[in-house]
């Protein structure tokens, strides 16, 4: 179920403030599912979000489904100077009382086989998260511009990016 109706209404009134998109099932709260625009010929898209487990029992994200030939939960790992991605086997554990973030340079959902239908800014990408105990939850990834800056290539009107903010964007 979607719990951000008021936030959505507020967004329309206050266009400069970003409200979190939230979805919930059982003791889990999923925040800010976002994706990034892709090139027209791209074969992959990415999904990021945060999962908070407000309960007393660990939960496991065991599957992600969406309307693409293949959808996988991946982790980007850097060993020394080599970066690789690997399939998260056995699911992603969300410990009781903890928040696990899927974010750039770390865990991410990979949508494979876009087949000529790129992700466009502001597009909605529906998906279903499957949890071991809480079950299934339908969510929507909002597609954002890849470079929210002044290159004129991104379709956004963010013309005055504060450089300090960009440090937060970079992977740790």
């Amino acid at each position: 179920m979607k719990t951000d109706l008021f936030a959505a209404a507020g967004f329309a009134a206050l266009p400069f403030m970003a409200f979190a998109d939230e979805f919930a099932v059982g003791d889990l709260v999923i925040s800010d599912p976002i994706s990034y625009e892709t090139p027209v010929t791209a074969q992959t898209g990415v999904g990021y979000l945060s999962i908070t487990n407000t309960g007393d029992v660990d939960e496991t994200l065991i599957d992600v489904r969406a309307d693409f030939p293949r959808v996988m939960l991946h982790e980007t790992i850097t060993d020394g100077d080599i970066t690789r991605m690997q399939h998260v086997m056995g699911g992603l554990v969300i410990p009781a009382g903890a928040t696990v973030s899927l974010e750039p340079g770390s865990f991410h959902i990979m949508f494979m086989g876009l087949g000529g239908d790129p992700f466009e800014v502001n597009e909605d990408i529906p998906a279903t998260l499957v949890f071991e105990t809480a079950g299934e939850l339908d969510i929507v990834f909002k597609v954002e511009a890849r470079v929210p800056a002044t290159t004129g290539q991104t379709g956004t009107d963010m013309s005055d990016i504060d450089h300090d903010d960009m440090h937060e964007e970079d992977g740790e």
């Binding site: 990034y36 625009e37 892709t38 090139p39 027209v40 010929t41 791209a42 074969q43 992959t44 898209g45 990415v46 030939p69 293949r70 991946h74 980007t76 850097t78 100077d81 080599i82 970066t83 690789r84 991605m85 750039p104 340079g105 991410h108 990979m110 949508f111 494979m112 086989g113 890849r146 470079v147 800056a149 002044t150 290159t151 004129g152 290539q153 450089h163 960009m166 440090h167 964007e169 970079d170 992977g171 740790e172």
Partner: protein, 197 residues
């Protein structure tokens, strides 16, 4: 093969010699690569399908990155960082630099695919591809490692190094940046080199 090896060795010596003789960039150096030369001649295919060389592509200070477009997480992170660094350099320092995205997955990254990919990030980022041999030779010049995780279908992944190299025309390698470098850090350090050109 021997002739090729000699040609490469000669080119590398030519590239590294001026930097060794007198380091005009001493105040800028953040990384130490010692005697190890990074970068050198390459022959690749540009966004229009034409064969180009390093001399054609590196005519101004240029950020060079090797990646692949199927990669949804690490490569876009680096490419977006490089694009922002290019903007910051222009806005804060008045320096226009270029960027190259060289694929290490030429089987899937055709001319159209690398062009579309680079265009998402910056108007002055150029995507380059090539034959398996051309890519392997270019990667070797830059000491780039890559290895496909062949899984038997078209959705395979590729392990690779994710450094960005600052190359200067007529001089060659100046600096490299890890993924952890911020757009500002890349811009500031690059500005130092460009100011000392």
């Amino acid at each position: 093969m021997i002739r090729l090896g000699l040609a490469m060795a000669g080119a590398l010596a030519a590239v590294s010699a001026p930097a060794l003789a007198q380091d005009q960039f001493a105040e800028c150096r953040a990384s130490t690569v010692g005697e190890a030369a990074i970068g050198g001649p390459f022959e690749l295919i540009d966004e229009t399908g034409n064969t180009v060389t390093d001399a054609d592509m590196i005519t101004r200070p240029t950020l060079v990155y090797f990646g692949y477009t199927f990669c949804p997480d690490a490569c876009p992170l680096d490419s977006a960082r490089n694009a922002l660094a290019m903007d910051f350099l222009e806005e804060d320092h008045g320096h226009e630099i270029d960027a190259l995205f060289i694929t290490i997955d030429p089987a899937r990254d055709t001319v159209d695919v690398v062009r579309d990919y680079a265009d998402v990030f910056h108007p002055r980022m150029i995507g380059l591809t090539g034959s398996e041999e051309q890519i392997a030779a270019a990667a070797q010049q830059y000491r780039v490692f890559y290895r496909a995780q062949r899984g038997g279908d078209e959705f395979y992944l590729v392990d690779h190094t994710t450094f960005t190299y600052l190359m200067l025309p007529g001089i060659g390698f100046a600096e490299f940046f890890r993924t952890s470098a911020t757009p500002d850090e890349v811009a500031e350090l690059t500005a130092c080199y460009v100011d000392n050109l």
